[in-house]
Every structure is written in C-alpha cells, then in structure tokens.
C-alpha cells in the first residue's frame, strides 16, 4: 500500500499533505499524553507489521494492522502512523519523504473510519458480536486503503479504473487475513487487558 517517490503528481502530493497535516493536528490535540506509551506501542506494531510478508500466489503483500491501530487509538492513529511511516521511509525505504503525506492519509483515513463506525461495537459486552465487528473492520480498513491508493494514482494521470481495479482485487486476500488478525487481537485484548481498549 506504500506509494513510492516519483509516482504521484504534484496535485496528489499536495492533497495528501493537506489531509495529513489537518488530521494529524486534530489527532495531536485529541491525544492523551498519559496514554502516550500505548500510542508508541501501536505505532511500533504498525511499523513492524510491514515486515511480515504474506505470499499470495505469484505475488506477496504485507500486514498493515490499520484497523487495530484505528480501533484502539482513534484520532491518535494519524500522528502514530505519520511517525511510523516516516521511520519506514528512512529505515526501510518504504514509500518516501515527499510522498509521506499521501501514504499517511491513505493509511490513516481507513483507521479513522473504522474507529468512528466500529469503535463502540467492538467494545460491546457480547464477545461474538465484537469479534465479528472486529473482523469486518479489519477487512474493510484494507479495502478502503486500497481504494484511496487507487484514487491517488488516478489523480496522478494514471489509468484510474485499471489501477483501482488491480489494487482492489489484489487486496482481497489481505483484507481477509487482516480481518482475522484484527478479530483475534481485539478478542485477546478484551480477555487479557480490557483497559487497553478504554
């Protein structure tokens, strides 16, 4: 899901930075500094998840953990992802610094959407219901991210429908895996450390 340097047009880069700066500013305001270590933990998980490769047929992809980060951190997921993506660009050469705004927006927005839509549902007392909701949120976050990446590639004068179609289909297996991982993570946290989801 990381878009590399030199792929996006100026318009797409500006749009990405505008969205990221706005959402990060809101995120920083809403971040509770007493829970900053939790933010760092989720940011680290997101940072490391990109190293977990999943082989799908002739191609492969990596975990993103968009939904767990969003569901647990809420608005703080934007600054958490910005830091993680910055370090990924510097240390792993994933994405890049110029395209950091677009990449943060592409991955931060799905995290925020699943927080707004599923945030209360996954905190439900009914374990089965919250597990199913966590699965849906995990899968949905990946698909939203793929669609956003397609839109950014489309803005950059590339064949939008082709790019969006390829990205959409390529991310379906990852969406299912992310759904399962998210469901397990949320169920585990609810059982072991419910205060983590507070």
């Amino acid at each position: 899901m990381h878009i590399s340097e030199g792929v996006l047009s100026g318009t797409a880069l500006i749009a990405g930075w505008a969205g990221t700066v706005t959402c990060t500013a809101i995120g920083l305001r809403k971040t509770d500094t007493s829970k900053i270590v939790r933010t760092a933990l989720l940011s680290s998980s997101f940072f490391l998840a990109s190293l977990v490769n999943i082989r799908i047929g002739p191609s492969s992809t990596h975990l993103s953990l968009l939904a767990p980060v969003g569901l647990i951190l809420g608005w703080s997921s934007f600054p958490a992802m910005l830091v993680a993506l910055f370090l990924q660009a510097i240390l792993f050469h994933f994405g890049g610094l110029v395209v950091l705004g677009a990449n943060t927006f592409i991955m931060g927005t799905p995290a925020l959407i699943v927080y707004v839509v599923f945030g209360k549902m996954i905190r439900s007392e009914n374990k089965i219901f919250s597990g199913i909701m966590a699965f849906i949120s995990g899968a949905l976050a990946v698909m939203i991210g793929a669609c956003l990446a397609g839109i950014f590639l489309g803005i950059s004068d590339r064949n939008f429908f082709e790019a969006a179609k390829i990205l959409f289909y390529a991310h379906i297996p990852l969406a299912l895996i992310e759904g399962i991982v998210t469901s397990f993570m949320i169920m585990f946290l609810k059982r072991v450390s419910p205060e983590f989801l507070s």
Partner: protein, 147 residues
C-alpha cells in the same frame, strides 16, 4: 516448354523466398548487457514487474520496456555512454529507479544500487521501535515534569 518450366521454377523460388523473408532467426550475442536485480526493501524480489529503460539521449521515450523475471532480474544492452535509468514499478505504487553510469558501451558498467545496504534490516527495525518508545517516554517525562 522450357520457358514455361523456367517461369514455373521462378514462381516457386519467388514464393519460397517470400515466405522465408518472414521467418525468424537468432544468434547468440556477444554484446555486454547490463543486468540488474530489483528487490523490495525487505529483500523480496520484484517479480514480473513492469520495467522501463531510459537512455541518456532520450529522457522521455523509453529505450526499452519489458518485465522483470521471477527473481526480479532485468537486463538491457546500452548503446550510448552516460547515465541510464531503469524504472521498475508494480501495480500498487511501489517503484524502484536504478541509475547506471555507462562509461564504455562495450564494458565498464557501474551500477548504483538503491537497495537496502549497510545496517541489517533487523537492526533498523529495532532502531525504529526504540526511537518511537524513547520519543513517547520523553513526552511522558516532560508531561510529568510540568505537573
């Protein structure tokens, strides 16, 4: 009679020549090619990805296009001195650009790889996590100091 035989033979020869002109052939080239291996930062090969080669003489139109092989390899034969660019990208927006300085068209090809070098990936991962936690602890300490 002889004239008809000659004309007939000429027609057969001409037909044979025509069909042969559209045939195919090959020979083993002794030219020096630039062979590159493209990988993701994790070390995984960029298999079957779109590759474009840009000559130092023409930066707009690709000198050669194609796809990498299963191991992420791609090769081309430069025909001019200068900096050649090879761009490999996938459908998900990942892109790797290799810049190759060709000093001699026949030999002496120096590749400037942009792949991950130096510190091992694990060390970089540990460094990243360590940085994040240290930043968090720094913010927490400052917060506690203010209270």
């Amino acid at each position: 009679m002889i004239t008809r035989i000659i004309l007939g033979l000429a027609m057969i020869v001409s037909l044979y020549s025509t069909s042969y002109a559209h045939g195919t052939g090959y020979r083993q080239s002794s030219l020096n090619a630039v062979a590159l291996e493209f990988t993701y930062s994790t070390g995984e090969a960029m298999s079957y990805r779109e590759a474009k080669v840009f000559s130092p003489l023409d930066d707009k139109f690709a000198y050669q296009t194609g796809r990498t092989d299963e191991e992420g390899r791609f090769s081309f034969v430069p025909d001019a001195k200068g900096e050649w660019r090879v761009i490999v990208r996938d459908e998900e927006g990942h892109q790797c650009e290799a810049k190759i300085n060709v000093n001699n068209v026949d030999d002496d090809v120096h590749a400037a790889s942009e792949n991950l070098q130096g510190m091992e990936l694990t060390v970089r991962a540990v460094l990243g996590v360590s940085l994040m936690f240290n930043i968090a602890l720094l913010i927490r300490r400052r917060q506690n100091a203010h209270q």
